[in-house]
């Protein structure tokens, strides 16, 4: 695994036929280490990607952590709520 692999960045790459996203929002309670842990363990992201998304949540107030069909995004959001994270389902930004 290399950090510079040309993997698709789910923050900017959105396909027209999968117009839903899972958004995780900044909150004043959850620890940065815990949010990173959740992204790593639930989504299976490599540590570097999990940390990048965690920092995006922290600095931008939110981050898109998954893109896909609505039902799948709802499963992710339910899982995030199970972890105690603030997460929502949203339409993907226009391509």
């Amino acid at each position: 695994m290399t950090m510079l692999s040309p993997d698709v960045d789910e923050r900017t790459s959105v396909r027209a036929d999968v117009p839903w996203t899972t958004v995780v929002w900044d909150d004043p309670v959850n620890l940065m280490s815990y949010v990173t842990y959740v992204f790593e363990s639930y989504f299976g992201f490599p540590r570097a990607k999990a940390e990048r998304l965690m920092h995006q949540v922290d600095s931008d107030g939110r981050a898109i952590v998954a893109t896909g069909h609505r039902e799948e995004m709802e499963r992710h959001v339910e899982a995030m709520h199970g972890y105690g994270l603030q997460a929502t389902v949203d339409r993907a930004p226009a391509a």
Partner: protein, 158 residues
């Protein structure tokens, strides 16, 4: 004491007796919130946030399908943590025990943050003022953060 200790067979509880007693009491209160008071408790919006912030109907439908399962899972997590604290479980935490601990510590912090009025960065220091030297809810909140941070680091060091 160090909250958790990694040994050859896994993560063990390292909390001192007094710390266990404090946490046991907190977990019992959490179980009460989860089992009885949720409908009228403002912490519910933190534990079960709107999935569609701009669509009340979709949020309500999502809640109908998910809230009871989530609540049941949170209660079960708290029960597991309670068993560890009271000695009903001992030895090394299983993977699912680790999850129960991480999630219950989060639910506890969400609940206490609600009581302290911590809703954003501007209120993140609520409860730090007027320290008279006694151990208050804010101290408990920060200590729980330390315990959780320690567990995340200990688990991640696998």
């Amino acid at each position: 004491m160090i909250p958790f200790v990694r040994r050859a067979d896994g993560v063990h509880l390292g909390l001192a007796a007094g710390e266990r007693a404090v946490l046991t009491s907190l977990v019992e209160q959490l179980r009460q919130v989860l089992d009885h008071d949720l409908a009228t408790d403002p912490v519910a919006v933190r534990m079960f946030p709107d999935a569609y912030p701009e669509d009340d109907e979709a949020s309500a439908e999502f809640r109908r399908y998910t809230q009871e399962d989530l609540r049941t899972a949170k209660s079960a997590n708290a029960a597991v943590v309670h068993e560890w604290l009271t000695g009903a479980r001992e030895g090394a935490l299983s993977r699912s025990d680790e999850q129960a601990w991480l999630r219950s510590l989060t639910d506890l912090r969400l609940t206490i943050a609600d009581r302290l009025g911590i809703v954003d960065r501007a209120t993140a220091d609520n409860g730090l003022d007027g320290d008279d030297g006694s151990v208050g809810l804010r101290d408990v909140y920060d200590w729980l953060g330390y315990v959780q941070e320690h567990l995340v680091v200990t688990i991640s060091a696998r």
